[in-house]
């Protein structure tokens, strides 16, 4: 902490025989099971966390495939019916000259989800092996994934607004396609997957490397 006399070397709670409450930052003896202040479950290092991360990650990825194959929007105008997928819709927007919006849609529905799948997989794999990337970079990545993941929901909200709004009898109407359902599920499962990841493992891998290089 800035305002506290900075210790020469950081001591982890585990090394000090303590366990941290990740919700309220209170310290407890290592064998404590439930935080006496906020009632959260205490686990020094969640060994099953990676299994949960991978399981939810896989479900998220499985939902992401139909989300891109099925149509997201069905637009009915007078005599024509137009079904567009996520990427198809963005391409259409770009053809109409709305490049800014096309970019937002592409970033929120394609770049962010794919980037998230890659980042979570990378983090989950990287904590298993010692060394490699600096913890600070990996933590930054984790924070970006946690913060930005929710923003993928934007496409679902756009579909919701459009389908509620554009209901002009006979003239034009917009209805949501099955992709909306799968896409929402995919976002939810990747968010849960990122939440299951225990960031303390990032620092453990780094600390082990430092120790190894110090001894050798």
């Amino acid at each position: 902490m800035e305002l506290v006399g900075t210790p020469k070397k950081t001591v982890t709670a585990r090394a000090a025989g303590l366990v941290a409450c990740t919700r309220c930052a209170r310290a407890w003896p290592l064998e404590t099971e439930v935080c006496g202040r906020c009632g959260a479950k205490l686990i020094s290092r969640d060994v099953n966390s990676l299994q949960r991360v991978w399981a939810l990650w896989l479900v998220g990825l499985m939902c992401y495939v139909p989300a891109n194959l099925y149509p997201m929007l069905r637009t009915q105008q007078l005599f024509s019916v137009d079904e567009s997928t996520i990427i198809g819709g963005a391409v259409e927007l770009a053809q109409h000259g709305a490049f800014g919006i096309a970019t937002i849609i592409l970033v929120a529905s394609v770049v962010i989800p794919l980037g998230k799948f890659w980042a979570i997989a990378f983090l989950a794999l990287s904590v298993r092996e010692k060394g490699g990337y600096a913890s600070r970079h990996r933590l930054l990545m984790y924070e970006v994934v946690e913060y930005i993941g929710r923003w993928s929901m934007i496409d679902i909200f756009v579909v919701a607004i459009l389908s509620a709004l554009v209901q002009l009898q006979g003239l034009a109407s917009i209805t949501p396609g099955p992709a909306a359902f799968f896409f929402a599920l995919s976002v939810i499962f990747t968010m849960l997957s990122a939440q299951s990841f225990d960031p303390r493992m990032i620092w453990d891998a780094q600390a082990d490397t430092d120790e190894a290089s110090g001894n050798g």
Binding site: M1, E2, T10, H96, A98, A160, I161
Partner: protein, 214 residues
């Protein structure tokens, strides 16, 4: 290892552990307006502000009123070729009505309206007694824990950006008018972000643990 032994021997209440990287520190409360930051991972651990409690309560009440008003009043109005359609946020959230889409409707309504609303009510429930120097409300700890768990699922600000995107998509199809709820929702998004900035979790937990005696 001498540091480590020192930590476990002293009173545990005098320690704070970074929830992100597990680094342990002797607790020293920063002054109002200053921040205590983890030296290893730069996570902000404590960030108290003067009169934050009162300000959060004021903002939360405003948000509750705005959420209720914004979900009932018409939000956007579209017109083309003599036909028009006005919708409220509740309509927008509940468009997915067929089969599995119903699940989606409930989720959307939850993310945009009910989760933000519930969070604000929980915040009020927890903070009002604390700020008024009364003993904490019954189950205040569980309420605050629930409110914190809901935080990532409160998506009002994302919905706001979604509106902007939707407007551009509709613009060449029909004319769009903004209803009163549209402006309310704009203010609401700003207030939700302001409230998050004022809230120091650690200070709330600490005051729940050590309520002031009257």
């Amino acid at each position: 290892m001498s540091d480590a032994a020192e930590f476990s021997r002293g009173p545990l209440e005098g320690l704070i552990i970074c929830p992100v990287c597990d680094a342990t520190y002797q607790l020293q409360r920063p002054k109002n307006g200053e921040r205590a930051v983890c030296t290893r991972c730069h996570k902000v651990l404590i960030a108290p502000r003067a009169k934050a409690g009162m300000q959060i309560i004021a903002v939360s009440i405003a948000v509750v009123v705005l959420i209720i008003a914004a979900s009932v009043f018409p939000f956007l109005k579209i017109s083309a070729g003599g036909r028009s359609n006005a919708v409220s946020i509740l309509d927008a959230a509940l468009t997915f009505t067929e089969g599995p889409m119903l699940v989606l409707a409930l989720l959307t309504a939850g993310f945009i309206i009910f989760v933000p609303l519930l969070r604000m009510l929980l915040t009020l429930y927890v903070l009002v007694p604390v700020v008024l120097d009364r003993p904490p409300a019954e189950h205040a700890i569980a309420a605050f824990r629930f409110s914190e768990a809901l935080k990532p699922w409160s998506m009002a600000e994302i919905f706001a950006l979604g509106c902007a995107v939707a407007l551009v998509k509709v613009a060449d199809l029909a004319t769009v008018d903004f209803g009163p709820a549209f402006w309310m929702f704009g203010v609401l998004v700003v207030l939700v972000i302001v409230q998050d900035g004022y809230m120091c979790k650690w200070s709330v937990w600490n005051s729940l643990e050590h309520p002031k005696r009257r």
